[in-house]
Symmetry: C2
């Protein structure tokens, strides 16, 4: 099975309802909910039509009848629900009909009919195999499908977070009420959410719970339909074996490396690895295991790992899957503390044998206390020690080692990770580390994150995420990154695989992977981007410019049309274009023609070609405005030689400021090689299109806002990001 199939089929992430899951009887479900303080309509479980009539008399009319039975999953689809039954005679008729005609009916639930409310809500929870209990709140009934207006949180959810969940809903104005129209009982619905959160936490056999609809008025909150899916108690949760960041030192900052399976042939994988190790100027010792040579590519060769007179920190294992376990064992016996296993043929190919092979690998590694990257990994690179333990084509670029910088890339796809590396290099961005996590049999993405969060060389961590396998390690890594002032920017793939039709409850569909990841990332301060270009572009801005402390952007352009495009894109991305201070406006007015526009967005007009210094003057004036956090210079064709003058002004302004300056320049590059060189040398990012520049600025503004909030809560935090620069 390929990686995509693995993601698509959900092997990695979700088996929300195992084969053993059963739907709890509706009456029992209501009783359980009731025990947790969830208001439900008065109801009786009845075995016959006569019993149903008596129950209805007791409860008062009108009533609802529902078929009960293990086999009945969607009652209303099979005619198993009779609404608004108004008298004794009709109850008798309907009850008999259901008992006789609806297959699988064992009993009948008679419920007092709740009149329609102001709105119908849905409240639910499910037990995610990775993230644990997840709680959701949203518009219920038919509104659910229409607007998908749902807020999701990881449990436990209490008072404050429930208020935040309501705030997240687009329908909040309806729920709150306004202009004489009453809203709903927000305290009541909040209590139901908290109850559901407690219920799924306490009742270990509950896999999913759906209250849909919960009828809500200004006073009333009542859950008229409750579905609970049960599965056997999983007992103790799967072992979570966190690695301390120190354990990863041997992998990510090794002093010596042994390569097993290095060929003399540099076209072969092992040969290429050795060639890269040498070319990228590894600062420690390299030993090769090769029974047929005493030297390979200038490196000392030994017949086996135990023949090395010292214990290497890291073993690079470039042998086929079949022999990798033996080699790992040999390394373990020799005391090697870390290994990279490149070979494919483990869990990613599917099938029993391959799965077993990966489990065996994990077992061997743990028994020797080794940390393992992979298997099926494209390896890793660690710039501070000059390590390039990879064979990816992207490491062919340039002549020497990777350019040094403060960006780290951690990718669950070696191919995507390699491409990101090459595109960032193309933009002259430097790196601290590059890691392809492979199958994550041992170390998961969170473990790497935890190490990088503490690495003084790293300021920005880019993640390509397919699936998080260890939520605790990921959480710990993010928290360390936040505490140390490092930006974590993630692109998450696998969003289209939700497969809503296949799941049994609304909660499983609505609080699916996408929303749970969003909630998790948001909680942890991870900045999510929409596409891979944004991941690259945000890194460029963070690497080259200071992070802004807010989302208030000043824009200067020489084209009215371009100003309009920028205004649209800023609105879309949530960036503000505030009015300028009087000082800024006055300075700009003095510099630009009378038919220009001295307000934000500033339009210096096509006079730019005659007076190219205007752009720099406007940039500087806006950078000095306390109401502006960042400046975007929006250029269209802007050809040399005037463009060189424009660039001089912009660069001077940027260098004199602690705020970021970003350039969008739409014209072909060949029109302005001189000015583009000036920007590059001054590390002022230039993007080819306004939408790219603005998306990057928006992502980076989130970093700044996050730090600001962190500063407010803990002013003693020193910014490692600042230090690293």
């Amino acid at each position: 099975m390929s990686q995509i199939e693995e993601v698509a089929s959900g092997v990695v992430r979700r088996e929300p309802t195992s084969a053993a899951a059963v739907l709890m009887d509706a009456h029992k479900a209501a009783e359980l909910a009731s025990q947790y303080g969830i208001p439900v309509p008065a109801q009786r479980e009845c075995g016959s039509a006569e019993e149903a009539c008596r129950a209805a008399d007791e409860l008062g009319y009108p009533v609802v009848l529902k078929a009960l039975g293990k086999e009945i999953v969607h009652k209303s689809d099979v005619g198993g629900v009779a609404l608004n039954v108004r008298d004794r005679r009709s109850v008798g008729e309907q009850a008999r009909k259901v008992l006789e005609e609806v297959p699988g009916t064992e009993q009948i639930l008679v419920q007092r009919m709740e009149p329609a409310g102001t709105v119908e809500m849905i409240v639910g929870a499910r037990r995610d195999p990775i993230f644990g209990p997840v709680v959701m709140l949203g518009l219920g009934g038919l509104w659910t499908e229409a607007f998908d207006d749902i807020a999701v949180r990881l449990a436990p959810v209490a008072g404050g977070s429930v208020a935040q969940m309501i705030e997240d809903l687009r329908s909040r104005a309806v729920l709150r009420g306004a202009r004489g129209v009453p809203g709903i009982n927000l305290e009541g619905i909040g209590a139901v959410v908290a109850s559901v959160s407690r219920l799924i936490a306490d009742e270990s056999t509950v896999a999913e719970i759906d209250l849909n609809p919960v009828i809500c008025d200004a006073d009333r909150v009542v859950a008229v339909d409750i579905r609970i899916l049960q599965q056997p108690d999983p007992g103790v949760p799967a072992e979570h074996s966190p690695r301390s960041p120190q354990q990863l030192d041997a992998l990510l900052a090794p002093r010596s490396v042994v390569v097993v399976g290095a060929s003399r042939n540099p076209a072969k994988q092992g040969g290429r690895l050795l060639r890269y190790l040498i070319r990228h100027e590894f600062q420690g010792e390299i030993v090769v295991v090769n029974p047929h040579a005493t030297e390979v590519m200038g490196c000392r060769a030994v017949p086996s790992v135990d023949k090395i007179e010292f214990v290497p920190d890291l073993a690079c294992i470039c042998v086929p899957a079949e022999t990798a376990i033996d080699v790992l064992e040999e390394c373990g016996r020799a005391g090697v503390k870390a290994a990279i296993i490149f070979g494919a043929g483990f869990s990613e190919v599917g099938g029993f044998e391959a799965q077993m092979r990966q489990q065996q690998l994990t077992k061997v590694a743990r028994s020797y206390g080794m940390v393992v990257c992979g298997p099926n990994t494209a390896g890793l690179a660690s710039r501070p020690v000059g390590l390039c333990a990879s064979m990816g084509a992207s490491f062919e670029m340039g002549d020497g080692p990777l350019p040094h910088g403060s960006v780290a890339v951690v990718s669950q796809s070696g191919a995507i990770g390699g491409s990101l590396l090459s595109r960032l290099r193309e933009s002259e961005i430097g790196f601290s580390h590059w890691i392809s996590t492979g199958n994550e049999s041992d170390l998961t993405i969170g473990d790497y994150l935890g190490w990088l969060a503490r690495d003084p060389e790293t300021a920005t961590i880019l993640l390509f995420v397919e699936a998080i396998r260890d939520a605790e390690a990921f959480r710990a890594g993010c928290e360390a990154a936040r505490a140390n002032g490092k930006a974590v920017i993630a692109y998450k793939t696998g969003r289209s695989e939700v497969g809503r039709a296949a799941v049994q409850s609304h909660t499983a569909a609505l609080a699916g992977d996408e929303r749970v990841y969003d909630a998790f990332f948001k909680e942890l301060g991870v900045i999510e981007v929409e596409n891979l270009q944004q991941l690259i572009d945000a890194a460029i801005v963070l690497e080259w410019q200071p992070a802004p402390i807010g989302a208030r952007v000043g824009v200067v352009s020489a084209s009215g049309g371009a100003c309009s495009v920028v205004a649209d894109e800023c609105a879309r991305r949530g960036l503000e274009l505030p009015r300028l201070s009087t000082a800024a406006r006055t300075a700009i007015e003095a510099a630009i023609p009378s038919f220009g526009h001295a307000e934000n967005p500033v339009d210096v007009t096509m006079q730019i070609n005659v007076e190219p210094g205007m752009i720099g003057i406007a940039t500087e004036a806006m950078l000095q405005d306390d109401g502006i956090d960042a400046v975007l210079v929006m250029l269209t064709s802007n050809a040399d030689p005037p463009a060189i003058e424009v660039a001089r002004g912009v660069v001077r302004a940027a260098q004199g400021s602690h705020k970021p300056v970003v350039v969008a320049r739409m014209g072909a590059e060949v029109l302005a090689p001189g000015s583009l060189r000036l920007y590059r040398e001054a590390r002022v990012p230039v993007f080819s299109m306004p939408e790219r520049a603005i998306a990057a600025m928006a992502a980076v503004a989130s970093v700044g806002l996050r730090s600001l909030r962190a500063d407010e809560t803990d002013t003693s935090t020193t910014s490692a990001q600042e230090e690293a620069r």
Copy 2:
């Protein structure tokens, strides 16, 4: 006033309610609505509390009281509404209170209180100064702000279109009802929409009408609050003076050009224009008007236009705004049929004098029957006759004339238009025409569209739109383009300037510019793109590859992670990834490793480096599959030399097929110069990121789908696009 200010302040597009607009009395509004068959609650207009009590007795309790008065705009904000008044005594009390305490109250409206319904809708219409009456339907009351669930159409709207409007709403499932929950009276609400459409068409003094909320149940549809804004009848609509496409021949395919204001100095505007005219190899005669020379840059010079012994088709007027009118008049007298006026200083700078100057210009042009491009334009280029009547920096690229192709660019911003040109040239795309429309004092974007729609050299028309000034001309242009099988792709800016707070009625805010443009474009088959990169990328695909006939995409990659990214992006853009035919799957299975994935998206695995031909084989197999309309080859680092083999296979497959093939290649370009050259030579588009490739394919799929629909209705249509290739 700069261009952005002009757009932002709405000078161009909207003055929805002129200063003279007044709110119609609520009672009169209800009576007018009633005349058009709109159901309203029974109601009485009362002058005193006693009268209100009598009216309430007649109508039956509970009732609603509303303050009536010219000054009262938002009744509920000033306490001018009393809901649910249950008895005579309360009516008396409340009525007295309103009459005494609510400023501006003249009378009281007593209305029977309608009980809450299943949903509240909003129905409205406004008279757009450009597009005429516009009708909207959506969720009303507090739901309006929450979900903005609104459908907009240009009037008139009758049966079929109302059904389509309901279909456009996300709340359609709620409105229709499902699973035993009743929907609303769809016929009833449809009739209300049709009535509102008739009302605004017939009542020429009605500027805006809002029915909000319209309470709806399974049976009941009743408009409980009606607001009508009136303004004086504008009388005859503004003159629409369409130009026949033939009239534009002198402008866009001139046989001779006179340049007025051409300097010897090639750095000055007029000098640059002349230099470009020569360099781009204009195929007709060029004469220069210059009283001080007999020759400028090798072109014959005469002292004035009337001294030319023949009548030039086109005059390029490069003189300051102050003298442009005199020059235009001189040209008109000499019989010149077309002019381009480059100078700024007309309506775009704002102010009375400049406005008058532009009006004068229009008057002169019309009096001589001339067509005018501009003023304040960056000019135009017409490749078939070698005309480059512009001074934009983008025309400096390369050595000779523009590369010849079938893409036409029409831009309302000269600067953006120039940038688009240079970026398309960078991608080696050829052009038929390039037009900067300027202030559009005479010819508007629709006139150019109409001409290009009939131009055999043009297949794809790219529009950068700030505002449509002549809806009829635009409509006619789009219809001609559709009839002749040409693709019209538009980027519309000015979306963030809606300024909802400033408008008086909901309809004006909700059926604002953005939605009206969307409705108009959709109706006319114009393909709207989200950003400028997409405009460029869609043109590249259309210029180099056949248009697909549907949205079913086959994907091949060598990375599971990349497949997952592609699946997400396709889902976002509405592209399908269908299962492959057995034949295609079998062919692919035979070519790729057993641990690969022979289903769509196909993953040939990293074995690509050993067997680079696999990608081509999979591409070919999918192109031969009748269930696939287009193929996306998704590559990551993919370095030469294996990348060259990959490219050979892909190019061979593309060349043997009538379906489009597009490549996304994420790795840095320096890794694969050889393969990139092969793709370029074979005109297979390569995009740097999957999201770019997929957005372009989605836009192009709309072109194909549109043609398909056109073919279904009129099978005799010959595709001019095909011919042009």
